[in-house]
């Protein structure tokens, strides 16, 4: 559902603000860390710090308060040699969470298209792409 015209509230407010994003990010990491293909990327990492960064990032995408001041996404992921398939799998977990939480319409599209747009910066591993 699109935001009502004349309503100044942001997509961030429309999905339930900080609390909703924290729930979404928690669920997302449950899925990702439970996926044997993806879990190794997080070995030895401070997952709660990563989650905080992600909440801030999603907040920014949805027009919420504050600004993402973490590292550049490309730089942050460069050492991980993330393959295209693993990236896509991760996107899959995220969109599954959005559906489970009933995120719809503009907020859904804003989040998924922002995430898709990071592919080029994040995928650096081999075994990717057909051309």
């Amino acid at each position: 559902m699109s935001a009502e015209p004349g309503n100044a509230s942001t997509l961030y407010d429309s999905i339930g603000g900080a609390d909703a994003l924290r729930v979404a990010v928690d669920r997302f990491y449950l899925k990702v860390l439970g996926d044997p293909q993806l879990a190794p990327y997080f070995e030895g990492k401070d997952v709660s710090a990563i989650k905080r960064h992600q909440v801030l990032l999603l907040t920014t995408i949805l027009g919420g308060p504050g600004a993402y001041e973490g590292r550049d996404l490309g730089e942050a992921h460069a050492a991980l040699a993330i393959s295209g398939a693993d990236y896509d799998r991760t996107v899959g977990h995220l969109v599954a969470v959005l559906s489970e939480l009933g995120v719809q319409g503009e907020a859904y599209q804003a989040l998924t298209s922002a995430v898709l747009g990071t592919r080029g910066a994040i995928v650096t591993g081999e075994a990717d792409e057909e051309d």
Binding site: A85, R89, G92, S99, G105, Y108, L116, D128, E129, E130
Partner: protein
């Protein structure tokens, strides 16, 4: 053209159709007993073939009062049958076995009048098919040999591969072609190329290995770079774009049903237009969004394109959370959009239901029309759960 009593013919066919699989079984047995040499033209396993025969007959008989409606389908069928090595001489054998099967199952109800009706109807069908095959024979081969130049298992059970045909295949975006692998002789299944025509003539296919399927597991796991597959004549007009339309587009894909819809997006990318397109890409599991790289490239190139990935699937046969069409209908108002849906039969059925809940007439939604492929027949898919899964797996390995 002989006058056929449409009502009489349809009534007799419904009697025969009630025998289910027995009817095509008798037909093929009769054909192979009377013409053993014909057996070599058919695959080892015949059940998918039996569905095709019944599907095609249903389509013809249902339209016998307006045969012009099925002429395009019959023409495609005739062109496509060249790949089996079918010649005009084969049609009378088929006609004789068809009449023998009808006579057998109609028993006391079989009359001279019915024999005339059925001969006339079959004569028309054969005539259309033979002529289409002859016309096509002047411009294109019965099949194309195509070398696999790239093959990748992208997600569990899903392969994306590119082939280079030995000569240009004139397939329009949204159409399908049948494929055959050297490992599985005489078994052909329909798949849609995922690309608009390219300068180098290559075609990209997306194939999911269907559990219990004949060809798809071979294409996913048993075929690789350097292998040569065969490609039949293009078929199917259900998903092609109307070039004169300026309406915005809603494209809803489930699994490898993405392929023809991506081809439509690529086609739009090659022309000047004012249309806006939304592509909803559904996958059952996170690991099955197999083509995001290509979709992201298209989205970067085309401002008019939105790509929305969706993962999940509601429990039970009806639409539920995470169902791709369910997410799409919640997205915005799609009135006045041209809507295309492609996926497996259940996905298409669920999508039409979801679209129906927001007032979209399912008859206006563009879906694949392999009208002669049995389980996929027509615009009104069977209710989920009513079809025999083993049959469905064999008959429609595409777009699972």
């Amino acid at each position: 053209m002989p006058v056929v009593d449409a009502h009489r013919l349809q009534r007799s066919f419904s009697t025969v159709a009630a025998f289910g699989d027995e009817f095509p079984l008798f037909f093929y047995s009769h054909l192979f007993l009377s013409h053993p040499e014909a057996r070599a033209m058919f695959p080892a396993a015949m059940s998918a073939q039996r569905d095709r025969l019944v599907g095609a007959l249903l389509e013809v008989v249902g339209n016998v009062h307006q045969l012009e409606a099925v002429v395009p389908m019959l023409q495609q069928l005739g062109r496509d049958h060249r790949k089996y090595g079918v010649t005009p001489d084969h049609y009378p054998m088929v006609g004789a076995s068809l009449l023998a099967a009808l006579e057998h199952f109609l028993a006391d109800e079989w009359t001279d009048e019915l024999a005339v009706d059925w001969s006339a109807a079959f004569g028309i069908v054969a005539d259309v098919m033979v002529r289409a095959a002859e016309d096509a024979g002047r411009v294109s081969p019965p099949w194309y040999d195509a070398e696999i130049v790239d093959h990748e298992v992208r997600a569990p059970g899903v392969a994306v591969f590119t082939v280079a045909p030995d000569r240009p295949v004139d397939v329009r975006p949204g159409e399908s072609v049948s494929l055959q692998s050297p490992q599985v002789p005489r078994v052909w299944r329909y798949y849609s190329p995922a690309n608009a025509p390219r300068a180098d003539g290559t075609l990209e296919f997306h194939v999911r290995a269907v559990d219990g399927g004949w060809l798809s597991p071979a294409l996913v796991y048993g075929t690789g770079k350097g292998d040569v597959v065969r490609i039949g004549a293009p078929v199917g007009g259900g998903l092609t774009l109307d070039p004169t339309s300026g309406r915005d587009l809603l494209l809803i894909a489930g699994g490898t049903g993405l392929a023809p819809l991506r081809a439509l997006v690529e086609q739009l990318g090659q022309v000047h237009h004012q249309r806006v397109a939304y592509l909803f890409v559904g996958a059952r599991r996170a690991a099955e969004l197999y083509d995001l790289a290509a979709l992201e490239r298209l989205r970067e190139q085309h401002r008019w394109l939105s790509v929305v990935p969706v993962v999940g699937r509601g429990p039970g046969p009806g639409p539920g959370p995470g169902d791709v069409a369910e997410v799409a209908v919640a997205h915005r108002d799609w009135t006045d959009h041209e809507i295309y849906v492609c996926g497996n039969d259940d996905m298409v059925a669920r999508s039409l239901t979801a679209l129906g809940t927001v007032g979209i007439d399912p008859a206006t939604v563009r879906v694949e029309t392999y009208t002669y492929a049995g389980p996929r027949a027509g615009r009104a898919p069977a209710e989920p759960g009513t079809s025999d899964p083993a049959r469905a797996a064999e008959g429609s390995e595409a777009h699972a």
